[in-house]
Amino acid sequence: MRTARDRHHRLFAFLSGITAASILCIAGAAAVAPPAAADDNVITFGAALSTTGRDSREGALTKEGYDFWKDYVNSQGGIKIAGKLYKVDIKYYDDGSDAATSAKLVERLITQDNVKFILAPYGSSATFAASAITEKYQVPMVDPNGAAEAIFNRGFHYTFAILSPAKKYLQGILELAMTLKPRPASVAVLAANDKFSLEVAEGISDFVTKNGFTEVFYSEYPPDTKDVATLLTQVKAKNPDIILGSGHLQDSLLIMRAAKDQSVTSKVIGFSVGPSTPDFITSLGPDANGVMGGAQWTTTLNYIDPLFGNAERYAKLFEAKYHHIPDYHNAESTAAPETFQFAMEKAGSLDPAKVRDALAALDVETFYGRIKFDSRGVNIYKPMAVEQIQNGTHMTVWPADAANASAVYPLKAWGQR
Amino acid sequence: MSAVAVASRPALSARDIVVRFGGLVALDGVSLEVAPREILGLIGPNGAGKTTLLSVMSGTLRHNAGAVLVGGRDLTHIPPYEIARLGLARTFQVVKPFANLTVRENAAVGALFGRHGLRRSFAAAFAAADAVLERSGLAAHADRQASDLTLADRKRLEIAKALATDPEILLLDEVMAGLTPAEIDQAMNLLRSVNAGGVTLIVVEHVMKAIMGVSQRVVVLDRGKLIAHGKPADVVANPLVIEAYLGKRYRGGSPGA
């Protein structure tokens, strides 16, 4: 039998354990807090990214974009603000592709690590959750890839999206389609049932009704779908001129495979997310040819940039460092900290409120496009581009003045691409 | 065989009970009655349907035809917990202690939910549980986990749990199997004292000494049918029973434990 004294000891040991663990946690957290806050020659940015979980691929692309900017700026000496040169640093956490964790880590960056400038997480949901935190602490956040407009309809003042909003993602393909001869008329829309993809689909429906197309098929599918064969069977029965998929990379691969399996043909096929990533071409090989993608950015857009010169030079530098051509996730993720940089330089201050005001007033052309925010903090001034994969490479086919190739139309039959 | 009438107002009567498992007929029109305060022995070879009959009476198994009546009330569509609350308790051949509860708590569950359970206070239920443990010789183990008990004590606990529900009728399923002769004597004494307290008992048992010792009357089941009933000594002497129960080669021999 154990005595009461024994139990007391155990209880005491347990409580000491808990207390020690708590202290260790707090001390540990304090120990890893960056010295940057103390070092006034370094500006530290913070980002909670997805390095594990569902969005880890996109998270990795985002991180490359951020890091590229950081290393480039530091190699150039740093950022000059009010006559003083600062090096830059970015503090990263992994949110495990979970929006609630994203919010928690953004709060950590702000209150624990004293970060004054936040680079947004990947994706609309996580950005949405993080925006409530940055708003509370009045810390500016620049968002390179949360495109859902719902984020910006809450009257927040500290969140700025440099990318074109979701509704515009696939309108470019339809604009292009209006110039093609013979003009395609019928559209089939396949949309993943999530915030971003539904907004993209809404944008398509708006455009279709206003511009003389007919939507012959519309269906939503669950975001984690494994099998879209029946979806494509139904599309095939409608024989549409244009097939538009609003979803994510894996969905676009599934749809392409199912379309080939059943020999579904159309004159145009395009996706909101997918074709622009390097994985799309490596996965599908020749079958990727002719596929169009709505792109926030392409390497052939001829914008001038104060930092990188232009888009082409940015792409070259990026490829030299990461051994692949930057996709638009990379580009927008470089443009986001760059936007911060311009706002800081313009504000001549590192005061978050002043930087915010400078962001709100910003109007610059970058390699990524024009950056200017409307009153909600959305960049509605930058057009979307359309890419088409031709002979295994990305070609820009829209807008016409930035195009480096004309669209292959209509799409060739399967097996001849 | 027709119903075995024993009294004008039996404590329990089963009428033409039929139970089928798929194609197998486990009980084929069994009828019996138990008088109030009687100890009825229920014997038969393995697979005769004894446990099945207890399960039907306690409501844990649905019969395909027939009826069980307690105090004139048909139990056919009454769930087991309500049957227990009406005052009919049972034990299981393979004992089912609440392994991670203490012995006292095991008994207390019976006292908390049995015949008067819901009207009892919490404290009264535990007091009743302690009384039952005292009676069944488990008081010394009251604070041990049921999983720590020996087989004999688990058998006792199985009875104690049922007793704690304060039953009017108690169905006992081979509570003496595996016990030593001394333990069997203790168990028999317990049954007698329970019965003396006014509880009707139906005892299923293979231990002949016990059955002969405690039963006032015995019924014999074989392959789902009731083949004999009567005083213990008469039934045991019945050649039909000997043949069915012990096999042909024992015919003429004397039945024993």
């Binding site: 691929r57 998270g59 099998d227 029965a237 599934l254 994985d279 996965s283 599908l284 | -």
Partner: protein, 301 residues
């Protein structure tokens, strides 16, 4: 043939074919669950490893076709799963059900993230010469890859069934599942039987991975959604019922396929691709409630 009929037939065939991969994913899962009473959450991670095995063999110097690399993937996964059972799962296999569940869940986190460390989250694909080619059955299109996937799932089912009923080892496994203690008394080395069962489950996951590699994007997290489906299919078929997994996979595929087909039921507003999960799960719930022993099983007392 009318276009409407063509649509229904094609949707039916789609579901039937989709069932192949679901069945393959569920086969080993159902076996381990039925025999060992272990819900192996790491089964999805095993499928993922099988897919990577086929991928590396395909892009490697041998340029091995994924269908041909199935035996290799199975062998690798058998060894890995056997070792996992001996070293880890066996330590707690008699503890309450949840313990093994937790252990395999943690294993799945461990393996998935280890894969992410080494192979990153890049999306990889196996694209063969015959990817996307199909044959026609009248107006119905049947993609070769899915056809062979279903055929191999059926073959694996047959092989497992034969193994379990015709070999001594298989019978020992079945005996163990019925009564561990009795099997031990009869001289069966239970620990070895369990390790073999887990190994076979792993090998079947490896095969499912190879099959998945030709149809799906290969990523470290690809196994997650297979586990949930394996769960469901195993129940549809009846736990541990080898033939049941195949039937369950096909039934699930067909229900999902028709659930996804809004055009098949004009006027019924609520059907459509988005509702396919709801429909599949309602069907599942009804089956659990009314036929808990699976679609092809029999009620036992």
């Amino acid at each position: 043939m009318g276009t409407a009929l063509t649509l229904y037939l094609q949707v039916l065939v789609n579901g039937l074919l989709a069932g192949g991969i679901y069945a393959a994913a569920a086969l080993g899962f159902s076996l381990v669950w039925g025999i060992m009473n272990v819900i192996n959450i790491a089964h999805g991670a095993f499928i993922m490893l099988g897919a990577y095995a086929s991928y590396w063999l395909f892009v490697g110097p041998m340029h091995l076709d994924p269908f041909l690399s199935i035996p290799l993937a199975m062998a690798v996964m058998f060894v890995l799963a056997y070792a996992t059972q001996r070293l880890l799962v066996n330590q707690v296999v008699r503890a309450p059900l949840l313990t093994t569940f937790l252990l395999t869940f943690a294993l799945s986190i461990f393996i998935t993230n280890l894969a992410q460390v080494f192979w990153l989250s890049d999306i990889r694909s196996v694209t063969t010469a015959y990817s996307g080619s199909s044959f026609a059955l009248g107006p119905i299109t049947v993609p070769w890859i899915k056809f062979w996937t279903l055929a191999i799932a059926a073959l694996l089912t047959l092989a497992l069934q034969t193994f379990m009923t015709r070999t001594k080892l298989g019978r020992a496994i079945r005996a163990t599942s019925m009564d561990v203690d009795a099997a031990r008394l009869a001289g069966v080395d239970v620990a070895r039987i369990y390790a073999l069962t887990f190994g076979i489950g792993g090998a079947l996951a490896g095969a499912a991975g190879s099959l998945a590699s030709v149809s799906y994007a290969i990523t470290p997290t690809m196994g997650d959604s297979f586990v949930v489906r394996a769960f469901i299919v195993a129940v549809l078929g009846g736990l541990g019922n080898v033939n049941g997994a195949l039937v369950g996979g096909i039934v699930y595929g067909i229900v999902e396929s028709f659930g996804a087909c809004g055009s098949c039921f004009p006027g019924v507003h609520f059907l459509g691709e988005g509702f396919k999960d709801v429909i599949a799960l309602v069907v599942l719930l009804l089956i659990i409630l009314f036929r808990p022993y699976g679609l092809v099983g029999k009620a036992t007392a």
